[in-house]
């Protein structure tokens, strides 16, 4: 399928922006274009689906609450057709009971009113993650560990353990490069792109916490291996089916 015409050169990512508030739509489109994105806009779900028929963007930004088709329905419909990355804009925050539903279909979501720099950072993070292709299925890493990143959980010794958004983002980056070392800088960027004061200790501490969650013996990790001075490596152990995605 051919994409829409690219007005900013072959490398500018295409974004389809869907929001029912025209003020915001115009402003945000302007801001994104000024940052070099190729932006199309839609006022509601139907218009968005029509635009998708003429070509896939690299990323969708969808407002959660829209008349007729709400953002969640639109996101589900899009995901049913193609694995397009989606960022949901919404007035609900992480503590809302609907946050889980959003996270099931969306790669990320940004709470309204947003800071443009934060939204910009998250767009960058989601687009960078496009290279990390992890199948939306369980990843068996050993007899005691199964990662279910599409639902932000791991099964450790038969018991389901919830993962925080950051933890699953880090594991996502590591799983996409299974068996290979991922640098601390990469992980920091994947996990905390929108936190300007994050430093490598965020990665170290989060890895320590992750080991407590998923390693059989956190003091002698077998899955989350430190590559001293460089970064980390996620490895499967004997007994696991071949976890490398095709």
């Amino acid at each position: 399928m051919t994409g829409p015409a690219r007005g900013y050169g072959a490398t500018s990512p295409r974004i389809l922006l869907v929001d029912d508030d025209p003020n915001l739509l115009v402003l945000l489109a302007d801001q994104l274009r000024a940052d070099g994105f190729d932006v199309q806009t839609a006022r509601d779900g139907d218009e968005a689906l029509r635009r998708l028929r003429s070509g896939w963007p690299d990323l969708l930004i969808i407002d959660m609450m829209m008349p007729r088709m709400d953002g969640l329905t639109l996101a589900r419909e899009v995901k049913a057709q193609a694995d397009l990355p989606i960022i949901v804009l919404s007035a609900i925050d992480t503590a809302d009971s609907k946050a889980d539903l959003v996270e099931e279909v969306a790669e990320d979501y940004v709470t309204k009113p947003y800071h443009y720099p934060e939204l910009r950072a998250r767009i960058g993070r989601v687009l960078r993650r496009l290279g990390d292709k992890v199948p939306r299925r369980d990843l068996v890493l050993g007899p005691d560990l199964v990662l279910e990143l599409h639902r932000r959980a791991a099964t450790v010794r038969g018991e389901s353990v919830p993962l925080t958004p950051t933890e699953s983002r880090l594991l996502y980056a590591l799983a996409a490069n299974l068996g290979q070392t991922v640098t601390t800088e990469t992980l920091l960027d994947r996990g905390w792109a929108d936190t300007e004061d994050a430093d490598p200790s965020y990665v170290w501490v989060t890895m320590r916490r992750l080991r407590q969650k998923i390693e059989p013996d956190p003091n002698h990790p077998v899955h989350l291996v430190t590559v001293r001075g460089i970064g980390y490596r996620l490895v499967g152990v004997a007994g696991a089916e071949d976890p490398v995605p095709a």
Binding site: L27, A91, A95, S201
Partner: protein, 540 residues
């Protein structure tokens, strides 16, 4: 002489039964036990013990399948005959002896005592006495033996072994006594069985089953427990179901009102086989069952009511949640535009007025979020997402977002390298509320924030303080209460939920929020404690 005695099989069985319910308090437990493990047996027994089952004496009425051998009493001489014989023996033998003595005295007086005759008389006398004693002894045994057997049987029945029956030959008074004992034991056993089934049936009911299933269940249980031909439960006014007449030879109608102390729930009706006896005790038992059914139905009705109310509340809560979400969306959407445009303009041409627009729209949006947080706290749907984060930069951002450039802010970070474990969004709300509070009540004094590790363990303590008048003694207790305002009528601004929400959010994140005691050189001071990670050694 056939002394009544249990067969070896019977005595073994009794010991086993006794062993099973032994430790527990005898009678009732034993009865239940017996009725539970002997469904088949007691069917048979019930019919055997049936008072209308003919009065045919012993021999023909073998107690097949019974666990205890019948107590056998014989031989078949009537009790009256045996008593007569005993009395005669008691009277005649002394009379004969007296006659012999008189005769001997006569002989001795008239013709000199022939020693031979004298000895004969003495011998006869002795023989008569011995004979009388032996005869009397056996007669006594013959008379008391059956009575002892009956006494034993009665004792065992009263100890809870209702399966014991005594068999007697003949149709004398003893036989009738035994017959009525057997009937009593059979009735007791039957009712015990019924009671056992009722108890089991009651134990099986649960208000969760719903009224319909409960009624069906109770009807089936009534039929099986009382061995009815049919049974039905009518819910509503019992008088709506006409009372049936008892017609001899036809199925006997029975009836019991499902009565509660304050209400008659319905009526249980049914029919028994015509041959089945039915007396006051049976009726009592049926009414007991009916009242238990009434209680179960009432429970089911109440349970259903509670369930419906709960469902309604859940629906209402979801509606409220949707409503608040909608309100939030409708308020946040224009605020998003306002702030985004103000920020964009600030970027092009910095202006303090634009900064105020940004700050005030931020403030408004924070308040909306606070209200949402209250609703979620009340509904218990608040679930923080805990991430690691450094407190000091977070504090600085929160202060800057407040936009009070004219106030001094001092930040002491005594926990370098430590990372708190908290939900970033919720923590920002708490920090914003505490800073807002310090600005509002600090009377223009410097605001200070201090971060330090908790000496007691892996937690970070964060104190935000001002040098204003602080919280008055009388307000200290209520400062965290909902809709409490520290300033009284002089400070009408604020929603009065900031500190309440902040404390609850801290608790939800596994931490706490406390008001510090007043001290010299210290105004209002609040300390947040949060779970934290000590500094990590550089590893990668």
């Amino acid at each position: 002489m056939t002394d009544s005695r249990l067969g070896p099989d019977g005595s073994d069985r009794r010991e086993r039964d006794g062993g099973r319910d032994g430790g527990r308090d005898g009678g009732r437990d034993g009865g239940r036990d017996g009725s539970n493990d002997g469904g088949e047996r007691s069917h048979d027994g019930g019919r055997d013990g049936h008072p209308d089952g003919g009065r045919g004496p012993g021999g023909g009425r073998a107690n097949r399948g019974r666990n205890s051998e019948p107590q056998w009493i014989g031989p078949s001489y009537s009790f009256r005959a045996r008593l007569t014989a005993g009395l005669i023996a008691g009277a005649v033998v002394p009379l004969a002896a007296f006659g012999l003595v008189l005769g001997a005295a006569e002989i001795a007086r008239s013709g000199g005592l022939d020693s031979t005759v004298g000895g004969l008389i003495v011998f006869a006398l002795a023989a008569a006495i011995i004979l009388a004693v032996v005869f009397g002894y056996f007669l006594a045994g013959n008379l008391t033996g059956p009575l002892r057997a009956i006494a034993r049987a009665v004792e065992r029945v009263s100890a809870g072994d209702l399966s014991v029956r005594v068999e007697v030959a003949g149709e004398d008074e003893l036989a009738r006594l035994v017959e009525s004992h057997n009937r009593l034991a059979a009735d007791l056993e039957r009712r015990n069985t019924e009671l056992g089934r009722i108890l089991v049936a009651i134990g099986e009911t649960s208000p969760r089953d719903g009224q319909e299933r409960l009624v069906a269940h109770a009807t089936a249980n009534a039929r099986s427990a009382f061995e009815m031909i049919d049974a039905a439960i009518h819910l509503g006014d019992p008088d709506e179901v006409p009372i049936e007449e008892v017609v001899p030879g036809e199925a006997r109608p029975v009836r019991a009102v499902l009565a509660l102390p304050d209400e008659r729930v319905g009526v249980l009706t049914g029919h028994l086989p015509a041959t089945r006896s039915w007396d006051a005790a049976d009726q009592d038992l049926l009414e007991l069952f009916a009242s238990e059914v009434a209680v179960a139905i009432r429970n089911a009705q109440l349970f259903e009511q509670v369930r419906q109310q709960t469902e309604r509340l859940i629906d209402l809560d979801a509606a409220k949640d949707d409503f608040l979400r909608g309100i939030s969306h409708n308020l946040q959407t224009p605020l998003t535009s306002i702030r985004a445009y103000a920020e964009q303009l600030t970027g092009e041409r910095p202006d303090r007025r634009l900064a105020i627009i940004t700050e005030q729209s931020e403030r408004l949006s924070r308040m909306v979020r606070q209200l949402l947080a209250v609703s979620r706290l009340e509904a218990g749907t608040l679930r923080p997402r805990l991430e690691v984060l450094a407190l000091a930069p977070r504090l600085r951002h929160a202060w800057e977002a407040l936009g009070v450039a004219d106030l001094a802010f001092e930040l002491d970070d005594d926990a370098p390298g430590w990372l708190a474990v908290a939900d970033p969004d919720q923590l920002d709300q708490v920090l914003w509320a505490l800073f807002d509070n310090a600005v509002k009540y600090g009377a223009g004094s410097e605001v200070r924030a201090q971060v330090r590790p908790d000496p007691a363990g892996s937690r970070l303590l964060l104190t935000i303080s001002d040098r204003g008048p602080g919280v008055s003694e009388e307000a200290r207790d209520s400062v965290f209460e909902r809709y409490a305002r520290g300033g009284g009528p002089d400070h009408p601004e604020g929603t009065g939920i900031g500190l309440y929400v902040s404390r609850e959010l801290c608790r939800a994140m596994g931490g706490s929020l406390e008001l510090e005691p007043r001290g010299p050189d210290l105004g209002g001071a609040f300390t947040i404690a949060l779970p934290a990670e000590p500094p990590a050694a550089a590893e990668a």
